[in-house]
């Protein structure tokens, strides 16, 4: 099985320095792109590869790039932003790529920047990723020394400056328009759309934001072609995917597998199944803002389309497992506290609604809930649904809540009737 994204990553050792990275074929795709392809060719091969955004939304990458004004309509500077603000609870896949093979990301950034004719790229890195910050900074200076960054890259007319922006820790910065405000030095509330960032983004200029894992795929697509990339996958979305598992399993971790690997295979073959003494009850498949799936969904393929058909989302592909000795109400309460705290406070439904769900869940968890509280929670999932809020934070928060109310409803009522948490 081919694992292009993690081929250079060895647990417990540092990343490859630039010489070693080049020896494994690194920066060959950059040469190919800059010396034999037009920017339009690069957009086209990525479009044909069916690469879709790995930050969670799954938007086709080539299509996103094609929204940037080009030719006589081109605006400069154009910006490329690498969204490395991985703050979704349960997600740790971008950390693996950032720490494990920074040159792969940098090569992907330069090729992507060439495709959209960007002049400046920022890596928007979360504050807690200190090791990644050190390794990226070092790798970027190596790339400048080799003239892969700066002016006249590889002797062509293409130029790119690459900077790391170290954030200071706030979940909403992962939302791309909030991220733009953060970079501009404003309070990072999301912006209203349209206009969309590919046309009016950072400082009003065209801006593309791509996730770390998305960009790491780009050199491999350029080198081996769209068809090769599509064949890596078991689904309509091309390529491999980094899947992760945390919770009460034998071997929590992250693995690069074909896109469309089933939940069961990831859980049982790679995470080693449930830890001794724990039984599987459900899973939040793609980070905190995705709907629970349960036993009947174990054979669902983890790709964007299949997960949606099953009533959830692929999201980040890093799953959190709910076991039989963990209270589902307590778990959802933990998630809602996170979302309530991280709400930027800009729009009323999110700012006020999320703390209300926390208070209701606290009452239920502490044995003070009333039967109508369960209906009240249900109503909140509708009040905070897409279309009622300024951005996707609150609707995302409602996903685990609404599905917990569907699959674990009896557990909510047990709390109410027994007047305490049955797990405590």
């Amino acid at each position: 099985m081919e694992r292009p994204l993690t081929r250079n990553i060895r647990p417990g050792t540092g990343p490859l320095p630039i010489d070693a990275y080049e020896k494994t074929g690194g920066y060959r795709a950059l040469r190919k792109a800059l010396q034999t392809m037009t920017p339009g060719d690069v957009v086209e091969v990525v479009d044909h590869s069916h690469l879709s955004g790995r930050g969670g939304a799954g938007f086709p990458t080539g299509k996103k790039w094609s929204f940037v004004p080009r030719g006589k309509d081109a605006v400069h500077p154009t910006y490329l932003i690498v969204n490395a603000d991985e703050m979704e609870p349960g997600a740790f896949k971008d950390r693996l790529l950032l720490e494990g093979d920074p040159h792969q990301l940098i090569e992907g950034i330069i090729i992507a920047a060439y495709a959209i004719q960007a002049d400046i790229a920022y890596i928007f890195l979360r504050r807690a990723y200190v090791t990644a910050a050190h390794r990226l900074t070092h790798a970027i200076s190596e790339a400048y020394d080799r003239k892969y960054l700066g002016r006249k890259i590889l002797g062509t007319g293409f130029a790119l400056q690459l900077y790391v922006h170290n954030s200071a820790g706030r979940y909403i910065c992962g939302e791309e328009t909030a991220l733009l405000n953060a970079l501009e030095g404003r309070r990072a509330n999301p912006r209203s759309k349209p206009p969309f960032p590919p046309v009016v983004g950072l400082w009003g200029k065209p801006t593309i934001a791509n996730n770390v894992e998305t960009l790491c795929n780009v050199p491999h697509i350029v080198e081996h072609g769209a068809e090769w990339f599509r064949r890596l996958s078991h689904s309509m979305d091309g390529g491999t995917k980094i899947y992760g598992v945390s919770g009460r399993v034998k071997k929590p971790g992250a693995w690069e597998l074909p896109m469309g690997t089933t939940i069961r295979e990831v859980l049982e073959e790679h995470a080693g199944g449930m830890a001794d003494g724990f039984k599987f009850r459900g899973v939040i498949p793609g980070g905190a803002s995705t709907d629970f799936l349960v036993e009947e969904h174990l054979d669902v393929r983890m790709d964007f389309g299949s997960m949606q058909a099953a009533g959830s989302r692929l999201g980040t592909g890093t799953m959190v497992v709910l076991d039989d000795r963990t209270c589902p109400v307590g778990l959802v309460l933990n998630l809602m506290r996170f979302f309530a705290q991280e709400s930027c406070g800009w729009c009323t439904p999110c700012r006020e609604g999320l703390p209300w769900t926390v208070r209701i869940l606290e009452a239920i968890e502490n044995g003070q809930g009333r039967p109508e509280d369960v209906e009240r929670l249900q109503r909140h999932t509708r009040l905070l649904a897409p279309g009622h809020t300024f951005c996707a934070l609150a609707p995302g928060a409602m996903e685990p809540l609404q599905s917990a109310l569907k699959y674990f409803k009896d557990d909510f009522f047990r709390h109410v009737h027994e007047k305490h948490c049955p797990w405590r």
Binding site: M87, E88, P89, F92, N166, A168
Partner: protein
């Protein structure tokens, strides 16, 4: 008053952005590195230097988990309280830290050695439970390990 050293470090960041105010996060972190935290007085000076109002800069400063607007100890302990760490029991880690240090969340030890704060997911869920002390991540924790780790910070 910003020190010359702080001004020099902040000015070195200007090259990366189109506007002065864009360095606000970097500038707040530089000030915090030198002083431990961001006081009202330095916030006002910094805002003037970045051509922002103090309120604008404060709306940035108070937005982030890692900018401290109150004094903190020499070492800041961030306890991950998010879902994966919750499942495997961050609560017992937190209880142990509280007992060991004699302080609750948001408090500082009398000797000024540790401040204890909760934090959202630190992105190391496969090694839960985790805490961060200053810039160091500590993984797969239990009570015994914590005692050894605390001893490393004076």
């Amino acid at each position: 008053m910003l020190t010359q050293q702080e001004v020099a470090e902040i000015e070195a960041e200007f090259v990366r952005y189109e506007r002065k105010r864009s360095v606000s996060i970097d500038a707040l972190k530089i000030v915090q590195r030198h002083r431990g935290w961001v006081s009202d007085e330095v916030l006002v000076d910094l805002a003037g230097f970045l051509e922002m109002t103090a309120d604008e800069l404060d709306s940035v400063a108070t937005f982030y988990n890692f900018i401290f607007r109150k004094p903190v100890a020499r070492h800041v302990i961030l306890v991950c309280t998010s879902v994966s760490c919750w499942i495997v029991g961050y609560e017992s880690i937190l209880r142990h830290l509280r007992e060991r240090l004699g302080i609750g969340l948001g408090e500082t030890t009398a000797d000024g050695r540790f401040t204890l704060l909760p934090n959202v997911c630190l992105g190391a869920c496969d090694h839960a439970p985790v805490i961060m002390i200053d810039d160091d991540l500590h993984e797969n924790l239990d009570s015994e390990k914590i005692d050894l780790i605390l001893a490393q910070y004076e």
